[in-house]
Amino acid sequence: MGEFIFLSLLLVACGVLLAITFGFPLVQMDLSGGARMFPQLVLGLLIVAILARMVIILASGKKEPFAFLEIFKGPRLFFIASLFVSIVTMRWLGFMISVSAFLVGSVNFNYWSVKGNLGGAKAIAARSLPMVALVVSLYFIFTKALTVLLPAGFTGI
């Protein structure tokens, strides 16, 4: 049923996008079929294909687990959640702080999930400090040598 739920969500999204295409402005001088022609063609084909796949799933009667849900369990949940928090906070905290926090948090969490303990304070520091040093180095390499604009955040660095 997992795939059926996924396809249902996809179908709804396609329906909404198809409705949106009717709002694309038509330009009189544009003789190419207009901005809406190609997306409507693709969405139409996609809706037909999704419906066909849904019929096949229903006809087969197979009940498979919703594999996607494993993303919300254990270390995967921690990874995806910490990545999301890191991305969301990056504009305010800056690249160095948010990515350092993500890296230190993930490495130590992963270590704990594999080994069952974090080790002593020294072990945590030995894992974390090189991570922070690495992020700081990357920040300066990318901003100074490669002229990439990484978010500085409130610290302004």
Partner: protein, 500 residues
């Protein structure tokens, strides 16, 4: 004989050092997702202002050759295509790593890269005037037909999963429709009023979101599993055996021809070339079922084709002064800074310079091969790092790569959406290769279709044109139909066999 003279002119210590430096910089930029060859060349360009034309082009062409080949390391070892050109390398390169054959995949990929690069350099030498006129004869309808045919080859990548592959392809094409309408430049499509989406989704961000991070996410859930041990011989230079090369020779030559032709056509580049060559390799293979599960043929096809585009892309650049992509546009600029204008006059007035440039391409490819083949063992050390450390570290490089593309944090948000999409598709058995082909070719299909409609009137008017475009369009319809029928027959045969 003149080419030997040209090679002799390149073989001076300063030129060789510059080519080597360029190759190393290119390899590094190609291997890190988000960083790419245009960035590397743009950074190095100011250093060439005080040089002569040969040293300057040695540095820049070395970077170009290294950049295209560099993507294979991260594609094979980590499932992260450093560039779009390496996407097809992932399909079999990474499964080979999972099967403990990383060294074999890397050495085959490296050899295929140099084979493709040198093949295209020879094509550049022999065919430049002829192929350049071919490129200029291509109008929008011919482009549409070619790209549509390329897209239809996707059916070869989804044996047994035709409908799922079709859905994935259409999702890829749909992804490419986001942003300002490429033809009228007025309508803003699926941007929801967000100006940051006006330029659409960047290909590198989609690749990282769909391929790299879902794999890291998946691996995060099984960090305790012991990775497959890799078989590495105790040697410092990794090359495929003569037998492995002989087996792949036909496959590599076919892929090089595809890569060179696609390289000539402006705007296509290494990504489509590698995917189309991969699909063709699967079609002509005696063991197509092994593709996607760790088949060296897939790595050889992808890497030889994407490197063959480098020489192909230089053909219209040198013969016509037409840049096919960002890199060749910068190279034309670099030549202009040196006082040389690319175009038909260059071939007539500076034949020695033309041959010297080809010699640089050949030498750069040899250097790229030596550097990559001798660093295979070091590159593979990545796999020996503890996974609890490696996975978050790769994620950080992905974040850096995504921000580097447009210098903005916004791209990370839609990258996150693509992680979820990629994970959901992968876990439900939808092939990701067709999705990437859709993303890479979708925009070109729409633009050239609509340009054709503007130019010729209706679609029927286009179809009536006696051109290569019409031929390719018909092939693009017939080809998937044959695949669907073949697939249905195979399914029926399997059902009958299981019933018996």
């Amino acid at each position: 004989m003149e080419i030997l003279q040209a090679i002799g002119a390149v073989l001076t210590v300063p030129n060789l050092v510059l080519i080597l430096a360029g190759v190393i910089v290119g390899l590094v930029f190609g291997a890190i997702p988000g960083l790419n060859t245009p960035i590397a060349i743009a950074i190095l360009l100011p250093f060439t202002f005080a040089m002569g034309v040969v040293p300057a082009m040695s540095l820049l062409l070395g970077t170009y050759m290294g950049g295209v080949a560099g993507g294979l390391i991260s594609a094979i070892l980590l499932r992260i295509p450093g560039t779009a050109a390496s996407v097809a390398t992932v399909f079999d390169g990474y499964p080979m790593t999972l099967n403990g054959r990383a060294a074999e995949a890397l050495s085959m990929g490296t050899f295929a890269s140099v084979f493709g690069g040198i093949f295209s350099a020879i094509a550049l030498l022999l065919l430049t005037p002829v192929l350049a006129s071919l490129a200029i004869a291509f109008g929008p309808w011919e482009y549409f037909g070619t790209v549509f045919f390329g897209l239809s080859l996707v059916c070869l990548l989804m044996r047994g999963r035709m409908l799922k592959g079709f859905i994935a392809t259409l999702i890829g094409v749909l992804i490419k429709t986001v942003g300002i309408d490429p033809i009228n430049g007025i309508a803003s499509r699926f941007t929801f009023g967000n100006a940051e989406l006006d330029a659409g989704f960047d290909l590198v961000v989609v690749v990282i979101g769909v391929f790299a991070l879902p794999e890291i996410l998946y691996t995060s859930g099984k960090l305790g599993d012991i990775p497959t041990p890799q078989k590495f011989q105790n040697k410092w230079f990794f090359v495929p055996t003569l037998r492995q090369i002989t087996v792949q020779l036909g496959n590599m030559i076919r892929s090089c021809v595809i890569g060179t032709i696609i390289g000539i056509l402006p705007g296509l580049g290494g990504g489509p070339a590698a995917l189309i060559a991969y699909a063709q390799a699967k079609k002509f293979s005696k063991h197509p079922d092994e593709f996607g599960k760790g088949c060296p043929d897939g790595v050889a096809a992808s890497e030889s084709a994407n490197n063959a585009t480098t020489g192909g892309a230089l053909i219209p650049m040198l013969a016509l002064g037409v840049p096919g992509d960002t890199v060749t546009a910068i190279l034309i600029g670099a030549m202009a800074i040196q006082g040389f204008t690319c175009g038909p006059l260059l071939l007539m007035q500076e034949p020695m310079l033309f041959r010297t440039l080809i010699a640089i391409v050949i030498v750069a490819n040899i250097f790229m091969f030596v550097v990559q083949a001798s660093t295979v063992k070091w590159a593979a050390k990545i796999l020996q790092m503890p996974r609890y450390f490696l996975m978050p570290l790769i994620a950080v490089f992905c974040i850096l790569g995504v921000i580097s593309v447009n210098n903005r944090v916004f791209d990370l948000f839609y990258m996150f959406a693509f992680i979820l999409l990629g994970y959901a598709l992968d876990k439900n058995g939808y092939p990701l290769a067709p999705l990437m082909l859709g993303v890479i070719l979708g925009g070109m299909v729409e633009q050239n279709l609509r340009r054709s409609l503007s130019y010729y009137g209706t679609f029927w008017d286009c179809l009536k044109l006696p051109s290569v475009g019409t031929l390719f369009f018909i092939l693009g319809i017939v080809f998937p139909l044959i695949s669907v029928i073949g697939n249905a027959r195979e399914q029926m045969r399997l059902r009958r066999a299981s019933a018996a």
